[in-house]
Symmetry: C2
Subunit: 554 residues, 2 copies
């Protein structure tokens, strides 16, 4: 009963739109319905498994179809085309009968089965990523990413008149930009660099009168080996002229709402907004997870007459205070070993950071939530999405290595709050910036600011406050001095945002071909050795560490 | 009469959609209409010029507005906000009266005026690109690019169910990929490379069951200095499973039609399609400009009894023939110096290429068209868009340096025509490939193919025909051997396509921040020198040409 039918150029689907248009198939597996009974349809896909010597379960991206067929020539994961007819069964369900089969390709024994419940190691998944992506979870993740990005574009372009502008990725190295990859050019000693963000270009586009810019921008950051970081990542990059903080925040709230997956509970706006100061006071961190309370509490007053020696000492120090976290039913749920682990954290962290009490308590608060969840208490609803704006950050922070010097809390282009602007020339360390972070479930998923748009202010910040050489940014200063409009923007980390939406443990699960935490592509084995000869035109040679030269021969 | 009004956080536009939503302004300059008479509106923009000591002509991206105002404090190209009221004039036109002005920024003397008729040198335009982009032509080009790309996305995602997937740009170097930029990693001797296209990834996505993939893909090509090439460029990258040539061609015809600018004459489909053989025979080139005829003609028969010595010699050679181009009224329009220039081309080109007659005549045909146009004859309609498919290319060509060896005419992944497939194992040089080029007005704007989807065929092509080491593509061969579906795709060169649509002389005119022909960013001065210290973590050092070391200090 194994019939071949020959493919010919007139066999196109009659659909003019949708997932089967212009294709050999007439339907996808997942869309067959009782209404199709009596039709002859063509399916294309893979043999997922065989059942009872009678049925082939066929898979394509849309789902499964069970097809009645003798299976002597059909093997697992073969790519096949079936011409089938759809009949109604007495139960009211549909049954599909194969009329002809064409085997389009064969398949070797795969390193793992394409079944969601089959556990695979991370490195095996990465090495055979083209098989891993066949899983229904990865298909869902990549397709959701595409749909969400499309909705974002519709919102920005079609609803709000933004212009999608591509900016270069071969750019000039930022002085001291230790995390920027370099790209040698054919001119001796001259290098491009892969930028960490299109920050300068987006501001220049505002000077250029583009008015509203966005880009799904590929960005690069060389951080060596770091867990759950990628050397290249994508940000939704946005900049607008003649706008203030409230305008940008409103835009982003609308963007999230518009692009939010329909199958999830809708997002309500406006998002709550708290100041940096309050975030640190209540949660001990500038990106609080607001899905649960357990806020930090100042209980100094309770102890102002205490006889307990170490508390008394603490209160007598300048600015000394006593802080607590109230854990509901903590005594019931937290066991001896939980106390031990909390104490351990306190011991390890204490003394590592100056002015530590609150950041430490912020960490302990999260650790308590994890410990409670570990013992079965529902603390954070995994299906809840808590968005939060954090605003009024300090514009400058003391440098860790030299606290008399100031450095930008975010970047040197952030404008001061209008009410703090006069302090820029007298008490810069007191100035709060027009920076805003977007936080989702305790993760920072975006950040931006209203920018300095006057050349004189920018020059003052670079030269007088930050002690940097302004000539390195002369093109930006000249641009601001060419009638730059007031402007501001934001960048959202698309990979992180998506991984939270789909509940993925890692951003690798929302990226088609991610690198390992060491920055390797395990499938193609990049980065790889390049011969000295191939490097000649770039006027560079490799400095082999002593005794390592043999490596280059692999 | 110069009033300042203070900006406050509640001054947002009441528009919830469109180009003035979430902004300080209520309207753009270009949208003011008689219907707005009586309204108080807020405009934000630049002072374009002053007229008669009474009027300020204000510009934003949408157009100009003439505003009645004393102008003592207003200078050219200053960014300003006007609160104005719109009144009707006796002529029926509208007049706008300034009620208050806020000067948002000042402006230095600019290196050139922002007027379309002011001629600027190319290098000045590039150095001050943020001013050059203020011109109405560049605003049009960048906004059209954004709109066209948005329509393409709607067509692919929303109409045909394509999935937008981002693929990595830090990849493994292709063996012998002389045009690939390298990116040093922190592991000694190991380099990433910036790929020339996502070719491998798009095929792997088909193996992964993504079914329909597209991406506006950033691609990289290091060709040193070449006129009108860019080291980074953008292609509309498409791949589809279970499809044949006709399916891809139909998709692209629909894509062009759907995204075509509304202000241009509509494009009719299907596009004409000719074979490579016919293109070479009729036009002497594989990307013919079909806006004009003047086809190559074989006039050997006319001369088969000729007594003219050099023609006789030519005809007596194996495969010898006599070809001609008939230039309508050529004798009337082409002067002595035109003949000289045609002869000069013939002399220079003849002997440079083997089997030359037709390519040479193809060049002379284009040169004749230019010469005729130079003397005022309308040969090619500058507003006409002639799309053309060229198909049935040879799959392999003899290597220039060793004609007994074959190399791929396009790339080694192209499938043979079904009717030539049997020749792959016997007479590979006779095989035609399932490759298709899309040509517009004589420029190749896209190319693609149906791919080899069986590992055994791919291995045969790589190993036996091309004599390449198949282990370098082992991941792709393994992927094909995992039940790869039949698939094919195409890539359109977005920059070139747009430059033809807007009639720009260079692709630099449709790119926001292009590089110069030497690959330099004249604004930021990239590529630039990097200190030896900064290169240390990448284990590379610069090989300075003798006597050139001083350069690194600039």
């Amino acid at each position: 009963m194994h019939l071949r039918f020959s493919l010919n150029v007139n066999k196109h689907s009659t659909c003019t739109t949708g997932s089967s248009s212009l294709s050999f198939r007439s339907h996808t597996c997942g869309e067959l319905r009782p209404a199709d009974v009596g039709e002859e349809v063509i399916l294309c896909g893979w043999v997922q498994y065989l059942r009872q010597d009678l049925f082939v379960i066929m898979r394509d991206f849309s789902g499964l179809a069970q097809i009645l067929i003798p299976q002597d020539e059909v093997r697992l994961q073969v790519a096949v085309t079936f011409t089938i007819s759809v009949t109604e069964m007495p139960t009211g369900e549909i049954e599909v009968l194969a009329e002809s089969v064409e085997i389009l390709n064969v398949c070797r024994k795969l390193p793992f089965e394409i079944k969601d419940f089959v556990k695979k190691s991370e490195s095996l998944r990465m090495q055979y990523r083209y098989l891993d992506l066949r899983s229904s979870q990865m298909q869902y993740n990549l397709r959701l990413r595409s749909q969400l990005v499309m909705k974002m574009r519709e919102y920005l372009c079609n609803v709000h008149g933004f212009v999608d502008v591509e900016t270069p990725t071969l750019f000039k190295r930022t002085p001291g930009g230790a995390k920027e990859f370099v790209v040698p050019s054919r001119e001796p000693g001259r290098f491009y660099s892969l930028p960490q963000s299109p920050q300068q270009f987006k501001q220049l586009l505002m000077v250029a009168g583009i008015d509203r810019y966005f880009q799904l921008a590929r960005c690069y950051r060389d951080e060596g080996s770091k867990p759950d970081r990628q050397p290249e990542f994508t940000q939704v990059d946005i900049e607008m002229s003649f706008v203030d903080q409230a305008g940008i925040r409103g835009l982003i709230e609308g963007l999230v709402q518009y692009s939010w997956p329909v199958e999830k509970d809708p997002v309500s706006t406006p998002f709550p907004c708290i100041t940096y100061e309050k975030a640190m006071k209540d949660y001990g961190v500038d990106k609080p997870d607001t899905r649960f309370a357990m806020k930090l509490m100042d209980i100094s007053k309770t102890f102002h007459n205490t006889e307990i020696e170490f508390l008394k000492d603490a209160l007598n120090q300048p600015g000394g205070c006593i802080q607590a976290i109230c854990i509901p039913d903590g005594a019931k749920h937290l066991k001896g070993k939980d106390h031990e682990s909390l104490k351990q954290t306190a011991r390890t962290q204490f003394g590592q950071v100056c002015n530590l009490t609150r950041p430490l308590l912020g960490k302990l608060r999260l650790q308590c939530a994890e410990l409670l969840e570990g013992s079965g208490v529902a603390v954070r609803d995994p299906s809840a999405f808590h968005f939060l704006w954090v605003v009024d950050f300090p514009l400058f922070l003391p440098k860790e290595e030299d606290p008399d010097q100031l450095e930008s809390a975010h970047h040197p282009f952030t404008a001061p709050l209008p009410e703090d602007a006069h302090l820029l020339y007298s008490l810069p360390h007191k100035v709060r910036g027009q920076h805003y972070d977007l936080v989702l479930n305790g993760c920072e998923i975006g950040g931006g600011s209203i920018r300095i748009h006057k050349a004189s202010d920018q020059q003052h910040v670079l030269e007088t406050i930050l002690k940097e050489d302004p000539s390195l940014l002369s093109h930006l200063l000249e641009a601001l001095d060419s009638g730059a409009p007031p402007h501001g923007g934001i960048a959202l980390g698309l990979d992180r945002f998506l991984s939270i939406i789909v509940g993925a443990p890692s951003i690798r699960d929302v990226i088609a071909f991610p690198k390992s935490f060491r920055g390797h592509d395990l499938m193609s084995r990049a980065p790889d050795f390049v011969s000295e000869d191939e490097l000649k035109s770039y006027h560079i040679s490799v400095n082999w560490p002593a005794g390592d030269e043999g490596n280059q021969e692999k």
